[in-house]
């Protein structure tokens, strides 16, 4: 049993936590631009890390000029006018609420699925109620202990299971930590996600009770009505990024 103990955990530095490496420069690629330019930008980042580099700027500029001049978009003009006249009649239509008006671009856009890293990032930065350290640093939340079952279809239900490891087997704050994680995930995930928070097997003296309490909808709802408790939770969530 002792091998499960997270007693005196090795505190990890924040930058030692598992993270999604390739995301660092993602903001560079948000902007419009041709595929060719995008490809070049990615290549460039291998030799120069600075997002302010002049070459990068150059690529964007040329790309922009090419696009600017290429199509004074005769075809899309019509489209523009069309949607505009629509918008005269009904303000909602250009904004597109509801499935009908979902644009083709969006449908073809590659999706980033919700994966375990994403769940980890959401929860690992929650602050421990007792220490000035985060759950990730204390190894209370661990990447391998997260499961995501999601087929990506917005119509279907999805499930997230997260197993936490308290720092000591009689940790009285396990419920509070669990509540913090639940509040965080419920605020952050779309409603179609079902969230299950469990204690990792054999890490707590009263595992069963705590598990039951953590996943009891009524109790969670009641806890969230308690102003003071919510304050504590908010404080835990302050360190999230």
């Amino acid at each position: 049993m002792s091998e499960y103990l997270n007693d005196n955990p090795d505190v990890l530095e924040v930058d030692e936590l598992p993270s999604r490496k390739e995301d660092n420069n993602e903001h560079l690629f948000e902007n419009f631009g041709s595929q060719e330019a995008l490809q070049r930008k990615k290549l460039l980042l291998k030799i120069d890390h600075s997002p302010t580099s002049q070459v990068l700027h150059n690529i964007e500029l040329l790309d922009k000029l090419l696009l600017l001049n290429s199509t004074p978009d005769l075809i899309s003009d019509n489209e523009n006018l069309l949607t505009e006249s629509d918008s005269d009649l009904n303000d909602e239509s250009i904004i597109g609420v509801g499935n009908e008006s979902i644009s083709e671009e969006y449908l073809t856009e590659p999706a980033d699925p919700v994966d375990i890293q994403e769940i980890y990032d959401l929860t690992a930065h929650i602050c421990d109620p007792e220490h000035p350290l985060t759950l990730g640093q204390l190894s209370i939340v661990n990447l391998p202990d997260i499961e995501v079952h999601d087929d990506g279809n917005p119509e279907h239900l999805a499930q997230v299971i997260i197993r936490i490891t308290p720092t000591i087997t009689h940790c009285s704050l396990a419920t509070l930590i669990g509540l913090g994680i639940r509040v965080r995930l419920e605020r952050a995930l779309p409603p179609r996600f079902r969230i299950t928070i469990l204690l990792k097997k054999g890490t707590h003296n009263s595992e069963q009770q705590v598990n039951k309490q953590l996943n009891d909808k009524e109790r969670v709802a009641a806890a969230c009505e308690n102003e003071q408790l919510l304050g504590v939770v908010s404080k835990m969530l302050q360190t999230c990024k």
């Binding site: 002049q54 004074p72 605020r187 919510l230 908010s234």
Partner: protein
């Protein structure tokens, strides 16, 4: 009434009412005396009645008048007799207590007089010593006695310092000292303290033998203030800072070794203080004292000091292992003495070490036996640490600090300490410790060499005689083993090894050329094959440091090797090196880019060699080749861009000569496989390289170059007859040429270009070519059509009849050339374009062209320090915005506009805003905001982005304005975050979410609270956005609203 009377009356009237005026009058009176118009006596007569007046205030004013006059009088004007009378007069008044200030002021002035006698001075001093009670008076009064003493000292300096002192002289000095002690005791005004400390220093340095008997008293006057802290009041008239007082006190305490005993024992006591600031002050004072008092005074106290400092050093939290692994921190000479409390604590550690070093220095200067005793004692105490590897960092810093005193100390320390830990080991943890320990002694070497301040003989002697030489081979071997013999996982050891290597190179005269080459080789090899970030930084820093002193060696050993590694052929941008090592081309290029910074030779050689490399590979049209060319070009371009300011004409000339033919080989090869000419990005990069190569070329050659290039491009390659990609490089060259060159072909070229553009349909012009020709028009318009010629352009080439897109576009580019130089003609084009926005057919196209006017393009860029390339005015955007904005708003608000037309105005405005610094827009905010809100609903994502960007800035700066419009803004934003709509692309969604988040901070709670639920629910859909980055922002924003108005915990 005589003139004197008039002035006196006027003075009396102004005193304490308008001090500036009264002072002017005093000066006037003085002038009269100086010019012999009146006598001093006349003033006294005029004041006579007031001197004896019943009214105290009258007496004060009268005396003040006299004293003020005296203050301004020149020292040689008053004769012996006058002075005698005046002194007696003042001494008779001085018993009148309320008059003390004025009396002392007058006496103070008299002390500077040339014909004052020593006896008169003594009278005054005697009074101050016996009858003056400082605590009865205010600070302003107390200032005068100090000033009097200072003046006495200045006036009688030669007499007081007379070498063969007789008794009377001695008595005089003693009186002076006694007087000082009387007036200085109990002083607490900062201004008076400052002068008191100075006087104290004067006394102890000038009258050493006499002051010994008063040493205790003099010291007490000083030390009772230690450690001094003073916070200047807000309206401090004297501008005295805490640092001034500290320094004055410190220099007074350390002024003379008669204080040695008192100072040392008291300072050692103070070392026990808990406040880091006090400790800091104490350490600094101790350091000054040791250096001033010399070795003799230290003998008795070093043991006590060591015991006190030991505690400070051993228990300090400074310099954890992490900082020793940071290659950058290693190179900064830290020690900041002022600043935050953190740096104070750090410097306390360093200061303690400095004190130990100073002690070593002084003891050696005194005699070596004393020093040996000192070192041996400390080492004996530290030895167990080496045995049990405990507090090694501190122990080594202590020994290294002592060693950094001078050659003798260094050798002694090396002999004693090095054997304690220097041994080769394969045990990683031991090796790591050893490398850490070694580091201190290498620093010690550097510190000693630095202390010679360029004294060659001392330096050479040190280089020859230092005992670290004996262990050089062993150290090199151990470091080499640590770097190459360990697996790559041992990041710490390998980083440390690189750092120590770098340090050894910084040690002047320590390594031979061959050894340095070897190290460079090690580091180069490591940086290429290891992709750990720490090691990369350490190696890079190493190469940079070595380049500072051994640039050509680095070129030979490292850069050449790197450049040679770049293949001439290529498979998939991966290179095999040695048996199993893989090196990526990107890594090589990154290394080149990173470490050549600001090194002439390295940059030049890299550029030349890389260009030659291009020639080898450009003609192989496959995709890998295009990418490889792109990487090489980017590297060359960045080398120019990052370093053009330090490249001089000669280097540029060299580069130009050596690359000219290569570049033209590439440009003129019309083969379809040309990976540069037929790739848009590559061609653009190469052209920009041409720009840098020419812009800093010798200025007097520019005209020749202009003619030469024009011949090549226009005549030989006929780029103006049929569309040709070569127009791109030609434009960049033109934009680099000095604008003052005469360019006779300009009109001709303009004419032909315009014709060519108008025929674009028939001659099948590609997009890139079109941009090239358009830029050509802008550049020529901006540089070579000035003043009257500007009108010609408008008349000749601006044809509003032709409403084809290409013509409008061309006019816009011409407009750009004119607008950037604030030409008055630009208004013609602008106003026409503004009116075209109202056109149902072409309005949309025109609106998009507005972006062109303010877009920053390379050929019109301003580079720092380069002023001769174009006529782009600094504030043109501001002017442009001012010109356009009002008309846009007015037209937009005209009644009965169709939505399409309104949309045109908004599009134009947003596109302009995109390139206009937000600062320029602020003053128009009130008019702008309603338009921005409407722009958010335009069916064009770029317009939306631009509007959002401006709104984000507005929210931060004009919270109030946004608050007023929150009821319109928030619902719109909530629509923009919904995924899936055609015009809500990723950036729109992301920026809207950021803006909603910003609102939570800048809009007052009571206005925002009603929207809390609406926002939280409104963002629900976005939680399932496809893009993770959007989801992330959505979660953060939503969290802000969950917390909105929540009672904070605690």
């Amino acid at each position: 009434m005589s003139e004197v009377d008039a002035l006196v009356v006027s003075f009396i009237a102004n005193v304490n009412v308008n001090d500036e005026r009264s002072n002017d009058i005093a000066i006037k009176l003085t002038d009269l005396i100086q010019n012999k118009k009146i006598k001093l006596l006349q003033i006294i007569v005029a004041l006579k009645d007031r001197f004896v007046s019943e009214d105290e205030r009258e007496r004060i004013k009268a005396l003040k008048c006299l004293s003020c006059v005296l203050c301004n009088i020149e020292p040689q004007l008053l004769l012996k007799n006058d002075i005698s009378v005046l002194i007696n007069f003042y001494m008779s008044k001085i018993t009148d207590k309320p008059l003390m200030l004025e009396c002392l002021m007058g006496l103070d002035a008299l002390m500077t007089m040339k014909y004052i006698t020593i006896d008169q001075t003594i009278t005054v001093m005697l009074f101050l010593q016996k009858d003056y009670v400082s605590k009865d008076f205010l600070a302003a009064v107390r200032n005068y006695p100090f000033s009097i003493l200072q003046n006495i000292f200045d006036r009688w300096e030669t007499l007081l310092n007379n070498k063969d002192k007789d008794n009377s002289n001695k008595n005089l000095i003693i009186l002076f000292i006694q007087t000082y002690i009387t007036i200085a005791s109990g002083e607490k005004d900062p201004r008076n303290l400052l002068i008191s400390f100075q006087l104290n220093k004067l006394i102890t340095t000038n009258f050493k033998s006499e002051s010994i008997q008063f040493a205790q008293a003099l010291f007490d006057i000083l030390f009772s203030y230690f450690p001094i802290t003073f916070k200047p009041p807000k309206d401090d008239p004297y501008k005295i800072s805490n640092a001034d007082l500290k320094l004055a006190l410190r220099s007074a305490i350390s002024a003379s070794d008669i204080f040695a005993e008192d100072a040392f024992s008291n300072l050692i006591d103070k070392l026990g203080a808990t406040s880091p600031a006090i400790k800091n002050d104490t350490l600094l004072t101790l350091l000054t004292c040791i250096n001033k008092f010399g070795g003799k005074a230290c003998i008795e106290f070093w043991l006590q000091m060591w015991n006190a400092l030991k505690f400070e050093i051993m228990h300090s939290g400074d310099g954890s292992e992490a900082t020793y692994l940071d290659p950058i921190a290693q190179n900064d000479d830290k020690i900041e003495q002022n600043g935050s409390s953190v740096s104070n604590i750090q410097s306390n550690y360093q200061l303690s070490l400095d004190v130990l070093r100073a002690l070593a220095n002084q003891l050696i200067a005194l005699d070596e036996i004393a020093f040996n005793k000192y070192v041996n004692h400390i080492l004996e105490e530290l030895k167990p640490n080496f045995e049990f590897t405990k507090d090694l960092r501190q122990s080594c810093s202590i020994m290294a600090a002592i060693g950094s005193a001078n050659l003798v100390a260094f050798n002694k320390v090396i002999d004693l300490t090095l054997p304690l830990f220097l041994e080769n080991t394969t045990e990683i943890s031991k090796l790591k410790l050893m490398l850490l320990n070694l580091s201190f002694f290498l620093d010690s070497y550097i510190k000693v060499t630095k202390s010679f301040n360029g004294n060659e003989t001392e330096l050479n002697e040190f280089i020859k005689l230092n005992h670290l030489n004996d262990s050089k081979d062993e150290i090199l071997m151990i470091l080499g083993m640590a770097l190459t013999g360990n697996s790559k996982i041992e990041v710490t050891v390998r980083t440390l090894s690189v750092i120590q290597f770098t340090k050894m190179i910084k040690m002047e005269g320590y390594l031979t050329k061959e050894e340095i080459s070897l190290i460079i080789q090690y580091i180069t090899e490591t940086i290429l094959t290891d992709n750990n970030k720490n090691i990369y930084c350490a190696c890079l820093e190493g190469l940079k440091v070595i380049s500072q002193t051994h640039e050509s060696l680095v070129y030979d050993v490292s850069l050449k090797e790197l450049l040679n590694l770049l293949p001439n052929g290529f498979n998939d941008l991966i290179l095999h090196h040695k048996e199993d090592e893989i090196i990526q081309i990107e890594v090589i290029l990154r290394v080149i880019l990173d470490f050549t910074t600001s090194r002439h030779i390295l940059i030049k050689e890299s550029i030349v060699t890389l260009t030659q490399k291009l020639v080898e590979i450009y003609s192989n049209g496959n995709n890998a080749a295009i990418d490889y060319c792109f990487l090489l070009l980017s590297t060359i371009y960045s080398l120019f861009e990052n370093n053009y300011s330090i490249l001089d004409e000669i280097s540029i000339g060299d580069i130009k000569n050596q690359t000219e033919s290569s570049i033209f080989t590439i440009l003129t090869n019309n083969n379809d496989n040309n990976s540069i000419l037929f790739d848009n990005q590559n061609l653009s990069l190469l052209s920009n390289i041409l720009y840098f190569r020419n812009v800093k070329y010798q200025k007097n050659q520019h005209e020749l170059e202009l003619t030469r290039y024009t011949k090549i491009f226009v005549e030989d390659h006929k780029i103006l007859e049929t569309p040709n990609r070569l127009v791109i490089p030609y434009v960049k060259i033109l934009s680099a040429i000095d604008k003052s060159c005469t360019f006779s072909d300009a009109s001709d070229i303009m004419e032909k270009t315009v014709t060519l553009i108008h025929n674009n349909k028939t001659n099948d012009m590609s997009n890139l070519e079109k941009i090239g020709y358009m830029e050509l028009i802008t550049v020529i318009t901006n540089k070579w059509f000035n003043d009257e010629l500007e009108n010609t352009i408008i008349e000749k080439y601006v044809n509003w009849e032709d409403q084809s897109t290409i013509n409008l576009e061309m006019i816009a580019w011409i407009g750009k050339g004119l607008i950037t130089k604030n030409s008055p003609c630009s208004n013609i084009i602008l106003s026409h374009f503004l009116s075209l926005l109202n056109d149902e057919n072409i309005g949309l196209i025109v609106s998009k062209l507005f972006e062109l006017f303010v877009m920053d393009i390379n050929s019109m860029a301003k580079h720092k320090g380069i002023t001769w390339t174009n006529n782009v005015k600094l504030l043109y955007k501001q002017k442009f915005f001012n010109d356009v904005f009002q008309s846009l708003v007015t037209s937009y608000n005209e009644p009965n506009l169709s939505l399409d037309i309104k949309c045109n105005y908004l599009t134009a405005l947003s596109l302009i805003l995109k390139h206009t610094p937000n600062k320029l827009v602020e003053q128009f905010m009130n008019d702008l905001l309603p338009m921005l809100l409407q722009a958010l609903e335009m069916p064009n994502s770029e317009v939306r982005i631009s509007a959002l960007d401006t709104l984000k800035d507005t929210t931060e700066k004009f919270g109030l304005l946004i608050t007023e419009n929150i009821d319109t803004l928030l619902p719109i934003l909530l629509k923009l975050v919904v995924p899936g709509s055609k015009y809500n692309d990723v950036s729109v969604r992301l920026m809207s979410l950021q803006l909603i988040g910003l609102l939570a901070d800048s809009v007052p709670l009571n206005y925002l609270k009603p929207y809390k639920e609406q926002v939280i629910n409104g963002l629900l859909l976005t939680l399932s956005d496809k893009k993770r980055i959007v989801r992330k922002q959505c979660i953060d924003t939503r969290q802000l609203y969950f917390e909105l108005g929540q009672v904070p915990f605690e």
